[in-house]
């Protein structure tokens, strides 16, 4: 984003949209790092960042995602940052279930219907059903990387690779 110094200044509306989207993506990735334990190279490398933001925007009642990102902005910097996620976000009755769904999105590539009590309290959406976001999202699930494996049915490791000892097997 280099909108600051252009000879022709963008209109206010364009400026807000560009700055808003870019900042929002950054904030989403920063929060996702804390939630998933994967760095942003892994996260961005899935190619799913925009897709997951779109899912959250489509499924959640208006304002909920921004509320989550605002809460994340308020987390302390430094060593206490990860520890603060629990009380500040995961324990929150409104933001906690949403944050857990963000974790599941990254790990599994699928959306999980929010708990019934959450929907009763904060609103429902016809899109709030268990579903796989897309074929690429399924394949990009971080669960396969965490397992030292590959997504079932994709990114196969090659003939006989399964005979090799996995990391941590002590051989």
């Amino acid at each position: 984003m280099s909108e600051r110094d252009g000879a022709v200044r963008p209109t206010a509306a364009v400026l807000t949209a560009e700055r808003g989207d870019g900042a929002r993506t950054e904030e989403f990735l920063a929060l996702s790092e804390l939630l998933t334990g994967f760095g942003r190279v892994w996260l961005a490398g899935t190619g799913q960042t925009d897709s997951y933001l779109s899912v959250l925007d489509a499924v959640l009642p208006p304002g909920v995602l921004d509320e989550l990102l605002t809460a994340a902005r308020g987390l302390p910097r430094g060593a206490d940052r990860e520890a603060a996620v629990g009380p500040a976000i995961l324990a929150d009755p409104k933001l906690g279930p949403v944050a857990r769904n963000v974790i599941l999105l990254w790990y599994r590539g699928s959306w999980t219907a929010l708990p019934a009590e959450w929907r009763a309290a904060y609103g429902t959406s016809p899109l709030d059903t268990d579903h796989v976001v897309s074929a690429p999202a399924y394949q990009a699930g971080l669960q396969w990387i965490a397992a030292g494996a590959h997504p079932a049915g994709a990114l196969q490791q090659g003939y006989g690779a399964w005979a090799a000892a996995p990391e941590g097997a002590g051989r």
Binding site: E82, Y107, S110, A135, Y138, G148, A161, P166
Partner: protein, 602 residues
Amino acid sequence: MSERANGHSGHDVVVVGAGVNGALLANRLTRSGLRVLLLEAGPATAWTFDGYTRHLEHFYTATSKGAESAWPPAANAPQPDPADVRTGDGYFVQRGPSPFASTYTRLQGGSTLHWLGVSLRMLPEDFQLRSRYGVGRDWPIGYDELEPFYREAEWELGVSADVAEQAHLGIEFPDGYDYPMRRVPPSYSDKVLADAVDGMAVDVGAGSVRLTVRNYPAARNSIPRGDYRPVGAVDGYATDAAVHDLGERCAGNTACTPICPIQARYHAGKTLAQADRRNLEVIAQAVASKVLVDPVSGAVTGIEYQRYADPSSPRHTVHVAKGRSYVLAAHSVENARLLLASGLAGRGGAGDLIGKGLMDHPALYAWGLAPVPVGAFRGPLSTAGIEDLRGGAFRARHAAFRFDIGNDGWRAATGAPDSTVAGAVTGAGLFGTRLRDHLAQTLPRQVRFSIAVEQLPSPDNSVSIDPRHVDPLGNPRPVLSYHLDDYTLAGMAAATEVYRQVFSQAGIQDCTDPERGTWFPSVPYGDQVFHYHGMGHLAGTHVMGGSAESSVVDPDQRSWQHRNLYLVGGGSFPTMGTSNPTLTMAALTLRTAKQMTTELAG
């Protein structure tokens, strides 16, 4: 139809069903110069490379990744779905007392589109259960008679194994024979388990038996022996034979079921693609609705079928296919259903046996955590089993069983890794680096056994029809009556004891808890409750035997009552033992093909 002369369309044989049995017959008969019409109830969407790939995409985006998840049915050729077992509201009309838990696929290619590829031969003793152990019934043919056809089937399906490892429990091979491809390499998990378990002794009631973790024969492409040419991906419309070389060797997609993305695992389309196309006509989206019979001679005069253009609309046209001989290769349930819908049952003798004696391998899951990472979620879904309790004198008292050792963690039993992640996040409240570390320490240690238990034929386990229950085209749906008897339940109890001993020996922490796993039907036995799933090994609905009084088909799978009609597939099995039935079906069908060729082309 009466004005049409016999064979007016120029077909020698009409085959119903383009699964493994129909494809094998079409392949052999057409290559002998016979003209074959093959009718398939479902669409031919898996018949092209692009169509197959669309099924793969369907799997990727399916919320549940069960055996049928890549293969949605056409409304006009409905099929059972695992999810229906719980609701009791699906294609099957379940009469109970226990739900029948297995499924199959009505598409061109049949259930081989999503099978695991396990290609065990039956044991010699499996053919003689009655005379050796006083239970079940004997086959009218023995292992020795089927052995040459087992070899032919192993070459046709492309089975990978080493004879040196497979000659046990009485299974013998002729000198000089070996499987067409070397065994699929055992997984690291298999090796860890073998190190701990091989040689341990168990006793299930007939003396001490030593266990071995053994690689099983699999219809998955491996390294070929000699001049054998593996068949990879096929495209039914390609004219260039080179397309058969696409894909080839198993690459460890860990998705044999529901779909091998590279077609390294056998499916019936490979056999069909190698038929003599000049003599073959395939009509998909053609549901056989009635077998037409001459009331005087009993000979079949035609197959009435319903052809639909749009899989989602019940609009259809009715036709009659005619040939000299007819084959029903539509699957154990569908063969019986079609005969019953044609009014061919209940005429005494063979007719009374149609649909009776339905068998499956009701199976248990056992799952646990290995003491070290074993590399779960890699490789073919499984590569080894424990086969030592498939045979033995204990069979006089309870069922035999085999263990299939999974390479896919707890996927089949609990829905892992998705369920493991959900449990850690939602249940245990983990997130961040602790979550990632927990999963890295847990998922690669997941071990799963699938324990397939023998089931004997019982007249109470049956397929029937009821005019009140029909599908969108008006064909009667299968009505299933099913129960597990004490012979099978006692086998489950013995198998449970053995798996616990194996887990203990290997230091595997037993996490088996059906209440927390995927839902499966349950049945009580003493103070135990067994949660069983179906292996998709359906058999016994048109039993083979030595006389028209005691069986539906003769040893050639030829109907006793309709001599130009053959009923092929698992339905012909008098008993099933513990082997996955596809290889034995293929051997029987190749034997039938030889008989038909001699008679019709000779």
